[in-house]
Symmetry: C2
Subunit: 404 residues, 2 copies
């Protein structure tokens, strides 16, 4: 008699974005004359850059002829892409990462969710609070998180590291020692960035206690301050304690194209076992490579022309971030993020709960954001707004909020 | 202190195809004048059909403009593709499957490997022997297979169902009752097909004992005999016991494009829990949808023009299968498969081991295939040849073998 994975049954419903969508739908129905502007989800809206479109057309044409047709890709990614990533994202920044330490995938979300598989079930995880839900949910499914308290939104066996205004949304080293530490900078949802010194402290700590840092750098392209680290491998000693995840979704608009990569340095060993080999085995057994066409599109990112076009695209969104940040600040709100990230983290006024503020903005300005409490207990009384809308909508949304 | 998933360490090295490649390389180096023909791997060689190329170019163009740009796809796949799959692959064949029971993915390999996650670790699996290695390896990684005996190639907690000449390569119901049953028809590696009556027997058995059948139909497009089932849902009662995997790799040449789908009927419950909901949760948490461009390419398969072009492509490979099957039969070999599948399963002559025969063919004819023993103990003294080469190479390979 088959049995289900009982850990799945522990998962609370993923109500956040569906509740957001339902509330917007109900509001729109009740107010058919109002146009709701959504600054709620982290999906891009600008078209792919010309250099990427050209690369994709070229690759499609190659697939049309027997001489240039490509079947199964190498499990870990095409060499033409891996070597470009190693050079442009790492070696040019002085990071000692080579092409054979890069694992190309269908996106950072998959990798962030799957990475926990190569670790024992009795590893203890530490996460920032608030946090991108995938880190926690994938560990719930694996049975690593204990029991859930619906009243507080807390799992009994997870170490939560609060990120609040008091610590500038940068977590402190935990009191209890974790085995796996999830960090994400620039951060989703708070938009906060970490200094190189603070990140170095995490690397030193992980090396000292034998923990592995799972570092999500999906929003790295949005870093505008010169002294901030684009990769954890800018820190001394990271090669022996850190895995890094990268996305093409936000720097190149690939949310619907699907491409990412993960770096597992060959020096990273746990119990004497190189994690590089374990991740290679997972990739080879449960994945069959990213599409050739998509990998060619990814390679186009790493050219002078590509960098220029994508810088303009990131600049477009970061201009929206500035509009939101400054507009809300002018209107008297306490805001953070938005400088090195496409997310603005707003403190709700007058002690309103995150959901009360959601309802308030929707009612008074027909603007939707995301309640911070949806990302974890410490997100309560905060609110996330994204810079991924169109410029026109972003300006209008802020004007409306200012008029409330 | 982090700990690794010790189950990974139990996996024997995946030596099969790397050993094949090494032996070919060594032979080529020693015999630079000989051209090796590889009928060893299951990768396609024909270019994508025009209707698919057109669809991809069109989709790339859509991604170039803000009005038609697509970001994140729906987790479970675009409705335009899911509804076509439900109609063309199921409803037109009289199978009661609806669009919302289809989960679009980046390929059948990923789904076959990931499906075990939604089941408890203490489920017992049954597999055919020989077998596609992914079914077993993914369960090894999850800790479901016990200990490995390197001498026999057998896992202590796996139920093996021998498929040999004696049972026409169609497994018998196992003596020990399994919880999860992996079946693949048309079969890789044996090329065997199952009759509808025999498949019905499996469905009845699974419903009786409360097992779930994981049915891999990746090679369905190669079925040429009219009375053979293209889907397990042609059987009465399959909606309450079976999950089905489909690939676009072999019917449409998508090995390098990456698209597949899995069917989880809403009636399929385990311990009272609908597996549809569990798989949806897995998909939503650990996957972010197949690329828009690839899903548009997949939809092009389901048109009169697409079906015609792909029928010709499948016909091309099946003509190769006929050349191999008849050629080897003429040369006195005992062969099977090749009628409803692109694989020909050859009995090695004179009691040669699979690897001895591999060396023999390479030495004497410069032709490479895959040793059957690489797919499981009962594959010993068998040899797999694939029909995915070019026609010219296939003909030459067989001519060479005949001349030995």
């Amino acid at each position: 008699m088959a049995k289900v994975n009982a850990n799945y049954l522990k998962l609370p419903g993923s109500y956040l974005f569906s509740t957001v969508a339902k509330k917007i739908a109900a509001y729109s129905q009740a107010n058919p004359d109002k146009k709701v502007i959504r600054l709620s989800i982290g999906d891009v809206t600008q078209p792919l850059a010309p250099v990427i479109i050209d690369a994709m057309h070229g690759a499609v044409d190659e697939m049309a002829h027997a001489e240039t047709f490509r079947g199964y890709a190498p499990d870990l990614g095409y060499e033409f892409l891996r070597s470009k990533i190693a050079e442009w994202d790492y070696q040019r920044r002085g990071c000692d990462i080579t092409a054979d330490e890069i694992f190309v995938s269908d996106g950072a979300k998959s990798d962030c969710a799957n990475i926990q598989e190569i670790f024992a079930v009795d590893n203890k995880i530490a996460v920032c609070d608030p946090v991108y839900p995938v880190y926690v949910d994938s560990n719930v499914m694996a049975g690593r998180t204990g029991t859930y308290d619906a009243a507080t939104g807390i799992w009994s066996d997870v170490i939560y590291m609060p990120c609040t205004m008091e610590n500038q949304f940068s977590p402190e080293l935990p009191k209890e020692t974790p085995d796996l530490i999830y960090l994400c900078f620039p951060n989703n949802p708070t938009g906060a960035m970490i200094s190189k010194e603070d990140l170095q402290r995490w690397v030193d700590y992980a090396n000292k206690v034998g923990a592995v840092i799972l570092y999500d750098a999906a929003y790295e392209a949005y870093i505008s301050e010169e002294d901030k680290p684009h990769s954890i491998y800018e820190c001394e000693g990271a090669r022996t304690c850190a895995i890094e995840f990268h996305s093409f979704s936000k720097n190149a608009g690939f949310t619907g194209v699907r491409l990412g990569y993960t770096v597992v340095p060959k020096d990273l060993k746990v119990e004497g076992v190189a994690l590089h080999g374990l991740w290679a085995r997972r990739h080879g057994t449960k994945f069959n490579g990213a599409p050739y066409i998509v990998q060619k599109a990814g390679a186009a990112v790493y050219s002078e022309e590509g960098q220029e076009q994508l810088k303009a695209q990131v600049g477009y969104y970061m201009n929206n971030a500035r509009v939101i940040y400054e507009g809300l600040k002018d209107a008297g709100y306490t805001v953070s993020g938005g400088v090195n990230a496409p997310y603005i983290w707003v403190k709700t006024p007058n002690g309103m709960s995150s959901w009360e503020f959601f309802d308030y903005l929707l009612e008074k300005a027909s603007v939707a954001g995301t309640p911070g409490s949806g990302f974890g207990p410490s997100g309560e009384t905060y609110f996330r707004m994204t810079a991924f809308g169109s410029y026109e909508n972003t300006v209008e949304a802020i004007e409306r909020i200012k008029k409330i």
